[in-house]
Every structure is written in C-alpha cells, then in structure tokens.
Symmetry: C2
Subunit: 362 residues, 2 copies
C-alpha cells in the first residue's frame, strides 16, 4: 500500500505529489489516516523562504486524523482512554525522547535534544510520512496522543495541536492574574485563541490589535472587549488608547502573536510598571528588535519567549475547546478548504492574507 503526499522542494517551487510506502508500525507507534491539515504561519514562513527546512519535506503539523493501525503498547491515550482503529485523535506536534537533559533535568521536553517535530523533518528516509499534507502520517513513540470526542468537528480540532496548545503554554508561562488587562498584538489563529482563553482565565479587559478588519471582527466574536486597527491609528494614538483603556497605567500583559518583530518595542511601551511581555510569534531567524535597557529595568519588565509546548498543554487545550465550542465559532476560523492536488493554490491564498485558516483535506 502507498500514500500520496504533497512534497515541498524549496521556496518558489511547486509542490510535487509523490507516493510513499506505508511504514511498518513499531511498538508505541500509530499509523494515522489524515482527515484534515491546516496551514500554520510557520508553514507559510518555510514556503516563503523565511525559514529553512530539510528538503524534501512534507509540511503540515496542525492535523487531525483517524487511527489506521496501532503499535504494541499504544492502545491508550494520555488520559487512559482506549484507542482503536477508526478513532479520531490529535497529538503533540513533537515527539520527545523522555531521557535527555532537557526532558529530565530542565522540565523542557518541548526542547528535547532529540526532538522530532511533525511537518519539520525531511521525507527522505523511512518512515517518510512525517507531515500532514499527505494521506497518512506516522506517529512515533514519545508523542502525546488524545482521543477526540464525537461532539467536536474536524475543523474545531485541527488547529488545536499547534496554535491552541501553544497559547495554553504561553498563558501558563507568562501567568494571567485575575483582572489582568491584556493586549494581544495580532489577531491571527494564535491571537484569536489567546483572546478566547484570556476571557476564560479571568482577564478584565482584552484589547486586540491587528491590521486586518476581518481578523479584528473574529477577535470581537471570541471575546475581545476592544479592537484597534493599527493600520488606521498611528503608534502614538494606539499607545494612548491602550493607556486610556487601562486606567492610565498600561497593560498588565502584552502578548505578541503577530510575527512582526517591529511591534515588540511598542508592545513593551504599552505595559504598566511591572508588566509582562509574552513573545510567541517571532519563530523565524533574524527577527531583530531593539529595546531600551532603562525601560526594562526601571519599569521592572518581564519578557518571556516560548516555543512549542508540553503534552499537558495539548490536553488542556482540547478540554478548553470541548468546554467552549458551543460559545465560540471555532469552526468558522477554517475559511477555505483544498485537496492535496491544490496545495499550491492553498499556500498562495494563505499567503495573500485573504483567508483566515486554510484547510487541506487529502
């Protein structure tokens, strides 16, 4: 048996549909039939040549699929639910070794020395099927797996294992106190999830910033109290608006999920004394920004960067969507759908900024 995949061969080149043999399922491994993948910002960065990737590669790491074959010992998910052929599952974007310095000594399995990341590894060697833009994907030992309840649609679940779980990690890392005023810089998939989750974590005022009116509309639907189109206000006005909305003090927390390093110093300015800045979006090289050390010290600022997440963050993210999917229109965030043959078109649309999230259904 073979599986078709859309293989990325480098920026500016069209995807190539190739066939790969289905791998032998080893103990603790699972073969999954992909139901849907969504194109994440970092997929786009790779496609645009802003990030390097080992070529040839099957991109796509926001994925939902159903179990095709279960390896020995992989018959339960993280919560202890039994797994069987046909079950829908979501899984961590990465597999960790569980044994190294970062896994065992520093509580950072997401930065495991031998980290394997779906959609980020070449497809040159077995088991080949490492990414979501394919009919099948092979899930390795060391991956956190969660069974998906029937009440959730594929559209609601697909972006959970990247965008949503990353936000869970981010909010845990920066810490949200009851009544915090929070600015979210960027209302893409990460930003919208952040807005929804901040509301549930007890934030007082949630202020979303973006340059796109459709995104800001989503932000409002997901719970933002105020939205500011930063294309229609100059930086001084934006800063003064944020100050006005936060009692004159500035925000307790600012979250960068825009992927634009240019917004960082302005975000720091928006903070109150003692404020916390969470950096998530700058996941491409040379995302340089300038800060004034005088501001960082005298305002006693905290800045935290995060990358990836831990198994529990995905579990908590899934629970969050189960709790709130009747309140929030997660479904509607997947604005377009393509099949494997249309991947070039899908990336072009995604890069144009005219879609919110683009889904690939193999």
């Amino acid at each position: 048996m073979k599986a078709k995949a859309a293989v990325f061969l480098g920026a500016g080149k069209p995807f190539e549909i190739q066939e790969f043999p289905l791998p032998r399922v080893e103990p603790e491994g699972i073969l999954v039939k992909v139901r849907m993948s969504t194109i994440c910002g970092s997929d786009l960065h790779t496609w645009q040549g802003k990030r390097e990737a080992p070529l040839p590669i099957i991109l796509g790491h926001e994925i939902v699929g159903e179990i095709q074959e279960i390896g020995e010992g992989a018959d339960r998910d993280v919560l202890g639910n039994p797994l069987a052929k046909g079950d829908r599952i979501t899984w961590t974007i990465m597999a960790s070794c569980g044994k190294c310095y970062y896994c065992q000594m520093k509580q950072l399995p997401q930065k495991c020395l031998y980290l394997f990341k779906y959609g980020h590894e070449s497809c040159q060697n077995p088991p080949y099927l490492n990414g979501g833009l394919a009919e099948y994907i092979y899930i390795r030992p060391g991956t956190g797996i969660f069974k998906i309840p029937e009440e959730l649609s594929d559209e609601e679940v697909t972006p959970i294992n990247c965008a949503l779980a990353t936000v869970v990690n981010g909010l845990e890392t920066i810490g949200i106190e009851l009544g915090d005023n929070v600015v979210v810089q960027g209302a893409g998939m990460l930003g919208i999830n952040a807005v929804a989750m901040l509301r549930e974590r007890g934030a007082e005022k949630i202020i979303a910033l973006d340059i796109d009116q459709q995104r800001l509309k989503f932000a409002e639907e997901f719970g933002a109290d105020e939205v500011i189109n930063v294309n229609q206000t100059n930086p001084t006005e934006t800063l003064s608006l944020v100050k006005d909305l936060t009692g004159g003090y500035g925000a307790d927390v600012v979250i960068e999920v825009s992927g634009s390093p240019g917004v960082i110093s302005q975000g720091i300015e928006m903070l109150r004394v003692g404020g916390r800045y969470l950096l998530i979006g700058t996941v491409f090289p040379k995302a340089n920004f300038m800060l004034d050390g005088y501001v960082v010290t005298t305002k006693t600022i905290t800045i935290k960067g995060i990358h990836n997440y831990q198994v529990r963050h995905l579990g908590e993210g899934l629970d969050f969507v189960i709790r709130t999917h009747n309140k929030h229109p997660f479904n509607r965030l997947i604005t377009h759908r393509f099949n494997l043959q249309e991947v070039d078109q899908a990336f072009a649309l995604s890069a144009s900024g005219q879609a919110f999230r683009v889904g690939i259904v193999p």
Copy 2:
C-alpha cells in the same frame, strides 16, 4: 543647628558645601547623623551627566548613620527592635506611600506612584537633607528601618541598602534553583554581592566576567568558581569558555550588573535553552540593545528587569551580611575614604575605575 552638605549643581561643576537648618522631626520620621556614605554607580552616572537629577541635589543613598532624634511612633524598627538615640541604623533607599495602585494592588511599593528616593531629590525645599553626602539626613515616614548589630562595621553596612538589597531582589525575582550555573556580567559592587549570595543560595558554578583584574580578584575571594577577563578574551572565546564550563549547554542564569547594554545580547547567547536573564545595571536612559526574537522564542528565554527593592529585601540582605561577614571581606570593598570637603576628588577617583567603592565620612 545647621548641617553641612556637599551640593551637586550639575555635571562638570564642582560640589558646593552648603549649610541647611536641621528639620523638625514629624511623626514616623527620624533625624539621622550620617556616619558614612558610599558612591554608587548611579551617583556616578548623575555626576557624569548620563542621568538627569533635580538640581540642586545632595547625592548619596548608600548610607549608614546613627539616630539623632526619633519622631512619634518611630521607636521600633521593622523587626520590632526598640530604637533609641545613638543607635546605628540602615534604611530602604526609598519611602513608599503604602496606599497607591502600585503599593497596594501590584505588590510594587518600590515603584510607588509617590516614591521618594534618598539621594535622588532636590534639596531646594524643607526638609532639605535628602541625601547621604551631608552631616545629617532626614528619614521620612514610609521608609523601612533596621537597627544594625554591633558586630558589623560601618564599611560592612553602608552599601547594603542599595547594592546588596538590589541583588537580594534580583535573585528572588529571577529565581535561583539548586545547582544553577550562573554567569555574572560585571564584578562591581552588585556583581561581588551577587557572587557571594549565589554561593549561599546553592548555585553550582559561578562565573564572573569583568574587564578589571582587581574586580575579578574580589569575585574569586567572594566565591566565584571561574573568572574571565573579557578584555583579554574575544566574545567567541568567552562564549565557548562559558559553554565548556556548563556542560556544553550554557548557563541557567546570566546576571547583568555591568551597566553596559552592549553585553546583553552576548549574555543571552550564553544562556542554555530555557535560561533566565536578569537585567539590573542599565539604569540610565537610552541603554539600547538589540535582540533576535527568534532566539528569545526558540530558546524559550526569560528576561527580567528590576529596579529598587522592597523592605524585606533589605532585611534579608542585612541578615545575609550578619551570617557571612566573617567569611567574606566586605570591609575591604571600601577601598578609599574621603571627607565632605573632598567629594570632588572622591567622585573623580570613583569614575577613574581605580577604586572599588569610595566612602565619604562627613
């Protein structure tokens, strides 16, 4: 009765000895006879014109003195010890209102909206005597006061209420885990205190960096395991040395106490994945530095700036000196002594880098 003070009139101008009337002591206030002040890095910055100060001003905030007159209700220190005329005391560099947004809502009395900072306020209005370069200083309500035990010398105590207490706050803020490998960038008063305190807090390897051999010698005497003269090694070598000394991973914590924003990006490079960077020294405007957002996210870096400290930090710092002054030569850090008339000379020597800490004995 009058008190002499050395008044600062602006960068490049000599100090002027002026006389001020002794103030009436209000409830909760204390009049103190200054025994010794030491010249802090930020005094130097003001003297050099790198920082603005409200003129005319009596500089000096690292001070030890003895009680001259006690206001109603100021008869006990923070720990409940009775206070009497002639007792030696140390006190927080600042007085907080205890009532405002930062004092009450955000646990930041050190950033009180109505903060009063000794040695940082003009001497134009009563009670005039706000700084340490004077025969007397007036201590206001809202200041944390600690009685000094006889076993400590003036030299051991004077720098506690700025350099040492700031380090206590810094290490608490950034968090030191058992076995952390720590790099200290700068072996001035803050750096030396950090080295000594890191040892006591259970750090594994303490690596001190400076451009001055005498300072590095002090760092070794106070407990540094390794010292690197960054004038004698290039940045690549320094980085590789730090990596070698930390199992190839990089430091868990890097502490900036050099006052040079230029060292910050190199300090970030020295961190392991998940490392924490503590920024203390950049307390003058336009201390600009550049960072790569890709590094901050993918290495999941934490950066924290601090400024000032809380009452408990001074109390903990005093206890630390009481516990360790027989082990560490705190006395010897005050390398030179001048009287009030020699303040110009004292600042010039201090700025030359040829003294470690300069004391003024009125």
